[in-house]
Symmetry: C2
Subunit: 199 residues, 2 copies
């Protein structure tokens, strides 16, 4: 695991492998023990690297966790144009429903949100990642529907994403109530009517 | 602070005072350090009581935190009948908006949700409190609107609460984006149209 001087050709690959091992270890530790109890020692042990490999990349625990989580959380959702607003909504709700069952949404984000209320730097970084992400999804989704003539120009993309994401987040990540069979179909009808009315 | 044998007349009052001091200390410690780092010692110190006063009431940290938080979270929202669905929604959104800025929603619930994913007992207790609460609010809100003839019979109270609570929870407690001035008015129009369409 040493990034020694004797392996110049493979060094970049090896550095990438080590970074990936550390990232995976951080995500697993965050899910298992939470930010408060996460230690650099435990991350190094799990990743099979020395602590120096970590300190070479990040100067402290906060910086390490923020960079890794905001990178994972901010990865863009693939949002292909299905040809209709109803189709786009169905796809988005499925993607979001699946994402909310991932440990990032169910464990790591709530944990960091709790830390965020005690640490403005965590708050700002997470909020920026979430907002950038939400805006990109909203602009694409509503832009397509307006271009197709399915929604009036001026429909609020932020309200649209709030109405889609909020109920699912509340159900799946907070109250953890199973979705009834017809829930997503009802949501599509409900949100479409809501956006037309609120314009 | 001693609940000694020499004060039988005031003992019940004193016990209540001590319990209240412990409850307040638990809520403050939860907000400041989170569940993971909360210690019985720190709660006792903050409440100005001995550790035995705590162990007389709860057998461990988990039991103590669950009872106190689910009691506070489950307190019923006062939901008077304003005479119209729009009025009821406006009142409810104001109450929810205010509640979401309370540390229970912004710090303690996210923290416990993160713990819940590692501890089924926390998960079950919290979910039960949230669901019972949500159902009570939904049944009252939608029941009133149906009785007034403002919504069709069979309107889904759970969907209604999800559509109201979800977006505000997402905005205020997760993404922490300020609400635009016309946000609540738009939400009232949007949710009313959504519920009529999804029925």
């Amino acid at each position: 695991m040493a990034t020694g001087k004797r392996a110049p050709a493979g060094a970049a690959v090896l550095r990438g492998d080590i970074t990936k091992a550390i990232r995976d270890a951080v995500m697993t530790e965050l899910a298992e023990v939470g930010y408060g109890r996460l230690s650099i020692e435990a991350v190094a042990r799990r990743a099979g690297v020395g602590k120096t490999a970590i300190y070479r990349r990040w100067s402290n625990k906060l910086e390490m966790v923020l960079e890794i989580v905001s990178d994972v959380a901010g990865r863009s959702v693939p949002l292909p144009d299905t040809g209709s607003f109803a189709g786009d909504l169905q796809l988005l709700l499925m993607i979001v429903g699946k994402a909310l069952q991932h440990r990032i949404a169910s464990q790591i984000i709530p944990d960091l949100m709790a830390e965020a209320s005690r640490n403005p730097q965590i708050a700002e970084t997470l909020q920026k990642a979430l907002r950038t992400h939400q805006q990109a999804v909203g602009d694409k989704l509503i832009g397509q529907a307006v271009a197709r003539g399915e929604l009036p120009a001026g429909t609020d993309p932020d309200l649209a994403v709030d109405l889609l994401l909020g109920p699912l987040y509340w159900r799946l990540a907070v109250a953890r109530t199973p979705l009834p069979d017809d829930y997503l179909d009802k949501m599509i009808v409900a949100v479409t009517a809501a956006l037309k009315a609120a314009n």
